[in-house]
Structure formats: C-alpha cells, structure tokens
C-alpha cells in the first residue's frame, strides 16, 4: 500500500517536473539547429515561476468554465501521467488501458475548447473549432493503432502490453509494429500541436490551432495550461517509447529497478526529442485544410499495420 503510494508520488513528480524540461530541451535543440544559441533547457521552469506571480486578467464575458478549465486540464493530465507506464509496467493506476488514456486527453480538449469559446472572441472560437476537428479526425487512427497493439498483446491494458511486447523482442522489428509506431507518431504531432500540424511558437492568429484557445489566459491559469500541455507531450512520448519499444521497463517496484527504468526512459526520450526537433526544423507547417489528408494518411498506415499483424502471424 505504501509502496503504491510512493510510486504514485514518484511517477507524478517525474512527469510533472520532467515535462517542462522536455519542452525546454526541444526549444533549445530547435534553436541550435537554426544557428541560434537559444534559451537554456530549463527555461520553461523560469517562465512558469514568473507566471505564477502575475495577477491574472479575466474577461467579464467569461463564466466559471474559463476559470475552472486550467485545473480540470491539469487534473486530467496528472491522472494520465499516473496511468501511463512511465517508470514501470505496473503504473499506479494499474487498471488503465489506452482507451482510458485517450479519453482523458479528449476530456482536456473538451474543456479547453469550451474555454476558447467562453471568451467570446473570434480567435478563441476559431482555435476551438480547429482543435476539436483535428482531435476528431485523429481518433480513428488512435483506435486502429490500439487494435494493432491489442492484436499482438491480446490485451488493451497498458502495463500488460509493455510486458508482453517486451517478452518477444523480435516483434519490435515486425513491419506491422513499425507501421503502427509511425501512425501513432503522426497522431502525437496532431494531438500535442507540433509542426507540421500546428506551430507552437507562431504569432499569427490565423495559423493557430492550440495557441488561439489560450490567447485569453494569463497568470497562474496560463501556467497551469502550459504545464498541462507539456505533460501531455511527455505522456505521448512515453507511450511511443515504452509501448512500442518496451526494453528497459521493469516489472517490479524496487528502488534499483525504478532507477534503471528512469534511465532507460531518458535514453529513449533523448532519441525521440532529437528526432522531433529535427523534424520540426526541417519541414514547414501544413496548410490547415491539408491536415485531414495527413491524418487520413496516418489512418491508412494504421490499417496497413493491422493487416500486416494479421497476415504475418
């Protein structure tokens, strides 16, 4: 019981504190790749601390939904952090499956979209409309990728998938498995608002998807939302790392095992973050109405991966 509680606290801390670090490292790497020195990797921590000290400005047009959304979003991401197999294959919320995780993300998107509409500005409405459209179009790919994983591991429970996939190392170079990874990677780009779907550093409101919804937020509310977005990115990267390449994820909950699990995760995250930074630097943002084509392509990859898994058994 106490070990479970300690594990929960530890996993929450790892995700909560690691998320801004991942986002900061990504920014620094992207800056270096375009020839700038860039900010330090722990810059987001400094940004968050400053934001917490500011007085929020809230519009009279908004309702309690606007003020409650940052906390609901942060709460949903914290629960997702506890449900994902971050340090071990027995996460604190042991019963969680992928569908629950994706639904938690949708819960956050739902409230953020409502908050965007709440301000009564055209920016917020535009951001909400685009965000839910992208999220809706990414759903079929998610479920088909889940299907591909569930076919192999014969379960949708996250921890069990990690254990069963790691028990058969050759599966990781299975064509179906890799296709599912690529499909899920594209879904990650869409859901977390990275290039080529959405540019997180843009100032042009007409090109924004996620940023447009948060233009109205300030102070501690903005800090909660930025932090929750960072946690969403980290959980997605962890899923990509630990579900598809589950080597180094321990099954037992001892101090040594947890440390090794953390080191393995950091190693895989480094690879993913470098790849993501290179990808974001090298390609341009897609026109908004080309994004459904990208998502349809990822869906086709997902269907191919399912067929590959079924046919190559």
């Amino acid at each position: 019981m106490t070990t479970a509680l300690l594990l929960a606290v530890l996993q929450a801390l790892v995700v909560a504190l690691g998320a801004p670090l991942v986002v900061g490292t990504l920014r620094t790497l992207k800056a270096r790749l375009v020839g700038r020195r860039g900010p330090v990797p722990w810059q987001p921590f400094l940004d968050l601390r400053k934001l917490l000290g500011k007085t929020p400005v809230v519009s009279d047009t908004t309702s309690w939904i606007f003020r409650a959304t940052p906390y609901i979003l942060a709460g949903a991401m914290l629960v997702a952090a506890l449900a994902a197999p971050v340090l071990t294959s027995r996460p604190p919320l042991a019963f969680a499956g992928i569908i629950l995780l994706m639904s938690l993300f949708l819960l956050g998107t739902f409230f953020l979209a409502l908050a965007g509409l709440d301000a009564g500005s055209a920016f917020g409405g535009m951001g909400s409309s685009r965000e839910v459209a992208v999220a809706a179009l990414a759903e079929p790919t998610v479920m088909v990728a889940v299907f591909a994983l569930a076919l192999r591991a014969n379960t949708t429970n996250l921890g069990a998938i990690v254990e069963r996939v790691s028990a058969e190392p050759l599966l990781a170079v299975n064509a179906g498995h890799l296709l599912a990874f690529v499909a899920f990677f594209i879904v990650m780009l869409a859901e977390t608002g990275r290039l080529p779907v959405d540019n997180p550093a843009t100032h042009l409101e007409l090109t924004m998807i996620h940023e447009a919804m948060v233009l109205e937020y300030s102070g501690r509310h903005l800090a909660m939302i930025e932090w929750a977005s960072a946690m969403k990115l980290l959980v997605f990267l962890t899923l990509l790392a630990n579900l598809f390449f589950p080597w180094g994820v321990p099954a037992d909950v001892t101090a040594v095992a947890l440390l090794l699990g953390l080191l393995a995760l950091v190693g895989k995250l480094v690879v993913l973050v470098v790849a993501l930074a290179a990808l974001e630097t090298a390609i341009a943002k897609l026109r908004l109405f080309r994004v459904p084509e990208l998502l349809a392509g990822s869906f086709a990859l997902g269907v191919l991966s399912v067929s590959a898994v079924v046919l190559l058994r």
Partner: protein
Amino acid sequence: MLRQLRLAIRTGIVTEPPPTEAEIERLGAQVAGEIRVRFGRSLAIRQVDAGSCNGCELEIGGLTGPHYDLERFGVHFVASPRHADCLLVTGPVTRNMAEALRRTWLATPDPKLVIAAGDCAGDGGIFRGSYAVVGGVREIVPVDALISGCPPSPAALLAGLLDALGRPR
C-alpha cells in the same frame, strides 16, 4: 528535408556575443542580473505598433534572429498582451491607435513594464506636431524606459531593455 538539416548542422551557431564595447558588456551582464531580479530570468514582450513606419520593427525583428538572439537571455516575444510582462511600443501613436494602445496596456497583467522604442515613440520624432499623431507614448500609457534612435540598432535596443530594468520603481 535532409538538405535543410545538413545545412543547419554545417552552418552551426552564428550567435554573436553581445557588443564588445566595454559599456555594453558591463550592461550586458547587468541585463541578466536585472531581469533575474524582476522576472526571474524570464521576460515576455508584446510588441505594439502605434502607427510606426516599421523601421523600428525591422530592427526589433533582428533581435530575435540568430545573430542577436534575444531568447538566450530568457526574453521572448508573445502573441497576446495577456501573456506579456512588457509592452514594446513603437510609433508616434497616431490618433487612431491611441485607444487601442491604452486597451492593450490595460489587458496586460501586473506587474508590467512599458518600453518606448524609437524617436517617434519618445515625442513624435519626425512626425511631431502633425494633426494625426498624439506625440509620444507617454501621453497614453506610463513609460518605464525610452530607447532613442531612428531607428535604434539591435544593440541599442538591448541596452535600452536593461535601462528599463535598472530604474528604481
């Protein structure tokens, strides 16, 4: 895509160190210190064009480029005044932009700074006395610092930022 990456890796980091004149160097270290005290080494700037000819904007744009790289000091530009700590105002404040500037200032959460950049933002510059301008940002919102120049160079802008943060409040 790979060509872009190869070019990036070959070119390397081109950020220049801050200008080597002794004063600016002393001031450069002071920037970091002041920003650290006031905003914990993180400053978000919202740039407001109050009727400027865009000369100052081009110089400000240079600040975020690879050579001057404002981001290495923890300073970055944001899209909405709600996200900002500092308003960087250019232009003589035309009569049409006066109310917009005031509302932008009111939309910025406290604690906040206002830095007027360029001669026009100081007292109207070459447009001083025209029927169409108010004549200086300080007529509309309280100004914490003025960076003179027409337009001010990126190095001067960098020094000016520091001037604002060094002034007692």
